[in-house]
């Protein structure tokens, strides 16, 4: 069990910036923008940054009163872990006038290739369309600096990338000064051209070779002042948008690798069941298009000329299976086990006049399946392996594949491909490892793709959890607030765990002894209210499931339970939910976004019976957010019919305000919030997995009810708050927690009943389960009857 606590005296207020950085930063003055970096030896200019020389900007002081994440959170840990190797981040200036950079992170839709290009364009004074961003392959020398998670990419790479770009610009200016016969101070770099006062000029492309250094040398540089920013902070469209709308954006399964034929896996009828023997291999090999059938530890691989024929092969296979570890179990039995693992709640402070308010919540399993199912291309032959996949943690993938194949890491090449979504799933390398095994077993290259049914049933799930909240209220003051979260084990064996282990010794006192999950929990969860004695704990149990984070780890569930309790306390204190939050919040930035949504979203306006507003806040990823929703729970809305769909209550309007410190691309940030809102709605109302007799029932998007057009709010207004810091916060996950909580609060207010389990519709099975044998459904043949 982990716990962290903080005692807050009533009415204290913290005026720090949203990134939690202390005001002492200001005293550093211009030194904050002065850095050392490198010019790397080569034939064209290549500049690199080395932040290892500098003290960390996020001071790891030991907190006493505020909770731990306010002073040292998960992003500080990830940023610190990235620092020793940040010197390897290098930008090249090319003879065609472009700059190129291989980002050691994964683009999965969150927009980091665009924001990174903007940061380089800004500092290098180059038009945005002249910056080329690719994704770096697995580079073990980067150690921890190649993990995409925790919405940390921009937080950790912002300064190193700027330093490298600034050095590149400085070297271009030095070369231009010689060429143009003037001093650097007289030259102006703009739009990829350097101009002298006499009107003579030279382009970056012309300077690319001249500015190159034959040897690697150290360079000092000053970063641009944010006052001069012309790209960072302005709304920009994605750099991959044209490829996306023309169908030319390439995902793993679009790669054309010679002889890597379509391959699918036949899986067990129970979760993680093990194949023992194939009973009809010859029969399946005789099917049209099927080239290979091979048993691997996760199932039976079928390689064919087309995926359609691979599906036919999977469906025709007769396999003897050993049951998986949860055979015979259901949601209910897992919940019983989870409840047994709940630890006693600590006693609230004794005060005979205080009233205790209690609430218990259950959060069911949810799938983090993306549109682009788990997939990988692998070629394992002649003692070498080459793999392509969407990987947020490619170094760990490379190590695992090398170990599995019995090869040295140098003989395994792991390439990172853009993914059609992640939501936590691409932190793991399930498909890459499985493709490597299949290619080895078959002796030929494979293009492995998980069927949707597998992706939903066997793919990773957000673990089931319970959250118990107890608070002690005296009049309208909260004396204590305790929250105990108990969860099916979350798998962190994708690198984050290794980072935590490696950093343990450097963590603030008391954190180093905790396990991975507890450390993550302690570094991410906080209660930003003046609630007296605050205590949040985590206990985890049951490691039999395929789990992972899902666009946040614990935060959406913890925050939802938390904010529902805040509404209950407000009711006891006879204050409205907005007024109560406003009174209790102890962090100014959070109050700023709360006030913004209340004003823009017209908090408190008259609403018809059966409809209501709900309001909630969240603080994480160096940022703060607030969400105000309107929900319609009237029967005519709840009972509207859509074929093969879940309708139910409709969120009709959302007002969302987010303050991330320094927004790099407000347009991208708005998009991430819009997406996060739809995730929050799904978590509250419609989407969960049902475990029955040892397997998850959901096998398609008409079984697993992620938000659809008939559920999405017709009116969404995202407000990106003006810059409140000179450092960027995270975006990818920042839209989910407050949305989930606000929808839950609105539902409770509209119906008069506080829900105790999420999503609220989990109790009804709204679909007919697809067969488990064969494990994947056949494609229909009546498509021409449904044209429009």
């Amino acid at each position: 069990m982990s716990q962290h606590s903080g005692t807050t005296s009533p009415h204290t207020e913290d005026t720090r910036a949203v990134d939690g950085s202390a005001v002492a930063d200001d005293s550093r003055g211009t030194s904050r923008r002065h850095f050392l970096g490198y010019v790397l030896g080569g034939t064209t200019l290549m500049a690199a940054a080395d932040l290892g020389l500098f003290a960390s900007p996020a001071e790891a002081t030991i907190p006493t009163i505020p909770s731990i994440p306010e002073l040292y959170d998960l992003n500080d840990l990830l940023t610190h872990a990235a620092m020793p190797t940040a010197n390897l981040i290098a930008i090249s200036v090319n003879e065609d006038g472009t700059a190129s950079f291989a980002l050691p992170r994964a683009e999965v839709g969150q927009g980091i290739t665009t924001s990174t290009a903007m940061i380089i364009a800004e500092e290098l004074e180059l038009p945005l369309d002249k910056v080329r961003i690719t994704l770096a392959p697995a580079r073990p020398e980067l150690l921890f600096n190649q993990l995409t998670g925790g919405s940390n990419t921009t937080i950790s790479t912002y300064t190193p990338i700027r330093v490298a770009a600034a050095i590149a610009k400085l070297e271009l200016l030095k070369a231009a000064a010689i060429l143009l016969g003037d001093t650097i101070g007289n030259l102006v770099a703009k739009g990829g051209v350097i101009e002298a006062p006499d009107g003579s000029s030279v382009t970056y492309g012309e300077l690319a070779r001249k500015a190159a250094s034959p040897t690697t040398k150290k360079v000092e540089v000053d970063l641009k002042s944010s006052a001069g920013f012309g790209i960072v902070g302005t709304p920009q469209n994605r750099i991959d948008a044209i490829d996306a709308v023309t169908g030319t954006k390439t995902y793993t399964t679009d790669l054309q690798v010679p002889d890597a034929l379509p391959t699918m896996i036949c899986r067990a009828p129970t979760l993680n069941g093990i194949p023992l023997a194939i009973e009809n291999k010859a029969e399946v090999l005789a099917l049209a298009g099927v080239t290979d059938v091979a048993l691997i530890d996760t199932g039976v691989a079928v390689r064919a000329e087309t995926f359609g024929q691979a599906i036919d092969g999977v469906r025709a296979l007769k396999v003897r299976w050993q049951d998986g570890p949860v055979a015979g179990e259901s949601d209910a039995s897992v919940l019983t086990r989870l409840k047994k693992a709940e630890l006693p709640m600590p006693a609230l402070p004794k005060n005979p006049l205080a009233k205790t308010v209690s609430a218990d919540f259950t959060f069911w399993f949810r799938s983090n399946s993306a549109m682009d199912t788990n997939s990988a291309v692998a070629d394992v032959r002649n003692g070498k392996a080459t793999v392509w996949a969407g990987l947020k943690s490619p170094i760990i993938a490379k190590q695992a594949i090398a170990k599995e194949l019995g090869l040295g890491e140098a003989d395994v090449e792991v390439n990172v491909v853009q993914s059609g979504g992640s939501f936590g799933r691409r932190l793991f390398h399930d498909a890459a490892l499985e493709a490597a095994k299949a290619s080895k077993a078959i002796g030929k290259p494979v293009k492995l793709m998980w069927h949707r049914a597998d992706d939903a049933r066997v793919g990773r799930a957000h673990p089931m959890a319970t959250s118990r909240v107890r608070a002690s209220l005296l009049g309208n003051e909260v004396l204590a607030f305790h929250q105990s979260h108990t969860s099916v084990e979350t798998d962190f064996r994708h690198g984050l765990g290794e980072i935590v282990t490696a950093m343990a010794a450097d963590l603030p006192a008391g954190l180093g002894n905790l396990g991975f999950a507890e450390t993550i929990f302690t570094l991410t969860q906080e209660v930003p209210y003046n609630f007296g004695v605050v205590l949040q704990t985590l206990a985890e149990t049951d490691g039999r499931f395929n789990t992972g984070s899902m666009r946040n780890i614990y935060s959406p569930d913890v925050r939802c339970a938390n904010e529902l309790m805040v509404d209950l306390l407000a009711k006891e204190a006879k204050l409205d939910p907005y007024t109560f939050r406003r009174k209790m919040l102890r962090i100014k930035a959070v109050r700023g976004v709360l006030d913004k949504v209340a004003e823009v979203g017209e908090w408190g306006k008259a609403m018809p019976a059966g409809t209501a507003q709900g309001i909630a806040i969240h603080k994480e990823y160096k940022g703060v957010s607030a969400c105000l929703v309107e929900i319609d729970c009237r029967p005519e809305t709840v009972n509207r019919k859509v074929r093969d769909a879940v309708t139910g209550p409709r969120v009709t309007k959302v007002t969302y305000a987010v303050d991330v410190g320094l927004p790099i691309n407000p347009r991208g940030l708005e998009a991430q919030m819009q997406g996060g809102i739809n995730d929050g709605i799904a978590l509250a109302l419609t989407s969960s997995l049902h475990l029955r007799e040892g397997h998850f029932m959901e096998g398609s998007w008409d079984n697993y009810f992620y938000t659809r057009q008939w559920n999405t709010p017709p009116e969404v207004n995202v407000i990106v708050m003006p810059p409140s810091s000179d450092q960027p916060g995270g975006a990818g996950e920042a839209g989910v927690a407050a949305s989930f909580a606000a929808v839950a609060c609105a539902y409770a207010r509209a119906t008069g009943t506080v829900p105790t389990e999420f999503p609220i519709n989990h109790g009804e099975i709204s679909f007919e389960e697809k067969p488990r044998v064969p494990p994947v459904p056949q494609s229909p043949t009546d498509g021409l009857d449904h044209t429009y």
Binding site: T248, Q674, Y788
Partner: protein
């Protein structure tokens, strides 16, 4: 092996493949046309939405043997050519694709070719019925987007409708 012929993005194509192989695999695995995406293979997610003779359809659910020699299949790759020259936008694309760019709709982008092909069909259907696209039309679009880009999809369809 039977020879399958049809018109793909304005050009006649012929492939040697069994009648029952679904069109999606013929396009993706045999012809290398990868704009239409796999998302479920059972006509639920709609990521593969393309057009046949100008109407939206899902190639994951049509055996190639059912497609005739003269049937015209249009994938996202062929969409720009279906718009009259004067309707194409600054990027030379179909007005719906241009509206998508204007609103910066795509996030991961995986479902977007299917979303755009569906959007064009929804506008055409409304127009054939002599009306504008309604909220009910938008609510009825089944294409799933796991990034949750629905808000901008709705805006882009309304804008694209104006310039189509």
């Amino acid at each position: 092996m039977p020879e399958q012929s049809f018109v793909l993005n304005g050009e006649k194509v012929t492939v040697d493949v069994a009648d029952d192989v679904r069109v999606l695999w013929v396009l993706r695995d045999l012809l290398g046309v990868t704009g239409p995406k796999y998302g479920c293979g059972i006509n639920v997610c709609k990521a593969c939405t393309s057009h046949i003779n100008g109407k939206a359809f899902n190639p994951c659910s049509v055996p190639v043997g059912e497609v005739g020699d003269d049937d015209e299949i249009t994938t996202i790759e062929g969409l720009p050519d279906t718009a009259p020259e004067d309707q194409r936008g600054p990027h030379g694309l179909h007005p719906m694709q241009e509206a998508w760019l204007e609103r910066d709709v795509a996030q991961c982008g995986y479902c977007q070719p299917g979303q755009i092909m569906a959007a064009v069909a929804v506008v055409r259907r409304a127009r054939d019925e002599g009306r504008q696209v309604t909220d009910a039309d938008l609510d009825g679009i089944r294409n799933i987007c796991r990034c949750g880009t629905y808000t901008r999809i709705r805006e882009a369809i309304r804008a694209g409708e104006q310039s189509m």
